[in-house]
């Protein structure tokens, strides 16, 4: 079921999922590939996101990802998710700063 997207001013959308093989959080890039760094995510407006979401969902099995959905971000560089949940997905568990996604290769 698709929720209507209500974006505040200054917000855009990114697509996210988990990788099938290792479960890691991934973000959809402009070239259609998935990357674990939100900094490489394509920043989309609502219409672009709708098209991209359809395509990415269709190709999920081939791309080796599960559970594709869109989520709101602050339109800054790198994009920063709006909700606590997505911040934690983007950056790693807050209780283990040593596992921050940013510091991974």
């Amino acid at each position: 079921m698709k929720r209507p997207v209500r974006l505040e001013p200054g917000q855009k959308l990114v697509l996210t999922a988990n990788r099938l093989l290792d479960g890691r959080t991934v973000w959809w890039g402009a070239d259609g590939t998935w990357d674990s760094h939100i900094g490489r995510a394509a920043i989309l407006d609502a219409d672009e996101a709708e098209v991209a979401l359809l395509r990415a969902t269709e190709q999920a099995q081939r791309d080796g990802v599960v559970g594709v959905y869109d989520t709101a971000v602050q339109d800054v560089v790198p994009p920063e998710p709006v909700t606590v949940r997505e911040k934690i997905r983007a950056h790693g568990p807050t209780v283990h700063p040593e596992f921050a996604v940013e510091t991974e290769q």
């Binding site: 093989l21 290792d22 959080t25 559970g67 934690i88 997905r89 568990p93 209780v95 283990h96």
Partner: protein, 557 residues
């Protein structure tokens, strides 16, 4: 290899079965990867083998049946943490261990390693009969009437890949205890079983049904007072058959057996179960004394020998060392043998993550278990570790060994012994983070002298209404809620899981995360200021009612 103390020893048949289960799972993974199985089809199948997909990675929940392991198994868990995870594991309130950073592609290899030490992840999740839990002091406590482990093992075996009950409306949890002091939260389980001695040596079972936490907390009701051993499995089959046929499947929040029991009433449920029993071929389901004896024979009994002065040595050491004495007071329990004692090792260091243990700590616990407790380790439903049979005169050496790896915290049953679920740091269903608030509370009350002064007080924290942290059953409970993307906590007081089980009462509107710790500190101050001598937090709460506590919590808000 000698038979382990405390849990069932596998034989070749059991080991072949595990290998078959791993091969089956590996096939399922391959079918998922090649697309034959959709994610919707694969998910229930992987859950049935303990594999979740969380926020950052897969999580594997490994079964620790009735919470008991031997040192070889514990060492293996440490190795798995090191090789396949990020060097730590998380012990849960259902006496299992979870690894948080697992890769799907590694799971068959991990399962093979687990099988080397007779371990598995079977039915640690999914809508099936889950890992059976039991009293963490089983076979050791002085107050025990019946050692529940043999029957817990029988239930584990009977429920393993049960052909009829593997696709139930919802998960199904069974706990069993043989002590008049309920240490398994029997009445918060789908089925809670209390064993007591019957005639001619065989136990009889009191059976509660329809308890549970989650969105709708319910205290289980007594279904039968005295089920004979030979009819134990028949009775459970009948209870589950009624549930499988009639439990709701249209709404996952109404699918647990508790909702069915509430809807039709426990009398009607009992009649339905009796109607099943009347039609069943009871001979086919009979649990024979021979089968029980055969399973019992695969448990080793510890040879409890202690010097005559063991008790005196311990008493002297306690007088000499007040720090040790404090630990003994909070972290031990009376053993049935006067020369021995039960030691509980806290996995709740002040400011730490409740239930987490590093692979180094896990390895050390295994060594200490070998040295002090017949190589046997128990995981408690409060996320701690128990060494069940420690000689009194050697207790201090154990304590010193624990201190070397930061495991000598003297806070069992005290305010620092916080139960918390993984919460939003890991869990895909969470509304709020549970661990940071547990850490802040742990740090606030880190002083063990203060903790001893406050006395018995349990804090339980859940990151969402699913209640994995048992917040309804906490003397003080915290439930994480999401208010427009921000973390808030709802406070409850007066819950308890022990004898006289009760569901906590909500104090008032949820508090912002950054005000929660102060509010709890004021609650505790209110109790300290108004308690009469000898009163615990719950006693004072019962005497005064909620109002003074509500006022204290919301004082400055």
């Amino acid at each position: 290899m000698s038979i382990p103390v405390g849990h069932y020893q596998y034989d070749r048949i059991d080991r072949d079965f595990l290998q078959a289960r791993i091969a089956e799972f590996e096939g399922q993974v391959n079918r998922r990867l090649d697309g034959t199985l959709s994610e919707d089809e694969f998910k229930p199948l992987r859950l049935m083998n303990g594999l979740y997909l969380q926020l950052h990675a897969y999580m594997l929940r490994v079964a620790i049946p009735y919470g008991i392991l031997d040192s070889r198994q514990l060492r293996k868990l440490g190795e798995i943490a090191r090789r396949y995870d990020r060097d730590y594991g998380h012990f849960t309130t259902r006496q299992n261990i979870q690894f948080n950073w697992i890769r799907l592609e590694d799971t068959p290899a991990i399962l093979r390693e687990l099988a080397e030490v007779d371990m598995h992840a079977i039915q640690t999740s999914g809508n099936c009969i889950r890992n059976v839990t039991a009293d963490e002091y089983a076979g050791a406590a002085a107050d025990e009437l019946v050692d529940p482990r043999v029957h817990a093992e029988i239930l584990r075996q009977w429920s393993t890949l049960h052909p009829e009950f593997t696709f139930l409306p919802r998960k199904f949890k069974i706990a069993i205890s043989g002590s008049p002091n309920d240490r398994v939260a029997a009445r918060f389980h789908d089925i809670g079983i209390l064993a007591r001695p019957g005639e001619a040596g065989a136990p009889v079972f009191r059976i509660f049904v329809g308890g549970g936490l989650g969105r709708t907390p319910v205290i289980g009701e007594e279904l039968f007072d005295s089920v004979r051993e030979e009819h134990l499995l028949a009775t459970l089959e009948a209870i589950l058959r009624v549930y499988n046929a009639h439990g709701r499947r249209d709404n996952i929040y109404k699918a647990r057996i508790k909702i069915l029991v509430q809807a039709i009433g426990v009398e009607a449920y009992r009649e339905a179960v009796e109607a099943e029993l009347a039609q069943m071929d009871l001979e086919r389901y009979r649990l024979t004394p021979e089968a029980v004896a055969a399973i019992r024979a695969r448990f080793a009994v510890p040879l409890l020998e202690a010097p005559a002065d063991a008790d005196a040595v311990l008493a002297q050491q306690r007088r000499d060392d007040p720090l040790f004495d404090r630990w003994v007071r909070s972290n031990t329990h009376v053993h049935r043998d006067p020369g021995h004692i039960i030691a509980t090792i806290s996995l709740k260091p002040g400011g730490g993550i409740p239930g987490d243990a590093t692979s180094a700590q896990i390895a050390r616990l295994a060594d200490l278990a070998d040295a002090y407790s017949f190589g046997e380790i128990r995981i408690t439903h409060l996320q701690n570790v128990v060494l069940g049979h420690v000689r009194k005169d050697r207790l201090r050496d154990l304590w010193l060994g624990l201190a070397e790896v930061g495991l000598a915290e003297a806070n069992i049953g005290l305010i620092g012994d916080i139960v918390a679920c993984p919460g939003l740091d890991y869990c895909a269903l969470a509304n709020a983070r549970s661990i940071p608030i547990a850490q802040k509370l742990g740090a606030r009350f880190a002083d063990t002298a203060l903790q001893a002064e406050i006395g018995a007080l349990r804090i339980n924290i859940s990151g969402c209404i699913n209640a994995c942290g048992h917040h309804h059953a906490g003397h003080i409970g915290l439930l994480g809620v999401d208010k427009r993307g921000e973390e808030f906590f709802q406070l409850t007081v007066g819950g308890r899981a022990e004898n006289g089980a009760a569901i906590g009462t909500i104090l008032g509107a949820a508090l912002p995360e950054d005000e929660t710790v102060d509010a709890i500190a004021r609650l505790v101050d209110c109790y300290l200021g108004r308690r009469e001598s000898g009163e615990t937090f719950l006693d004072t709460l019962t005497r005064l009612g909620h109002e003074p506590f509500r006022e204290a919590a919301y004082e400055t808000v």
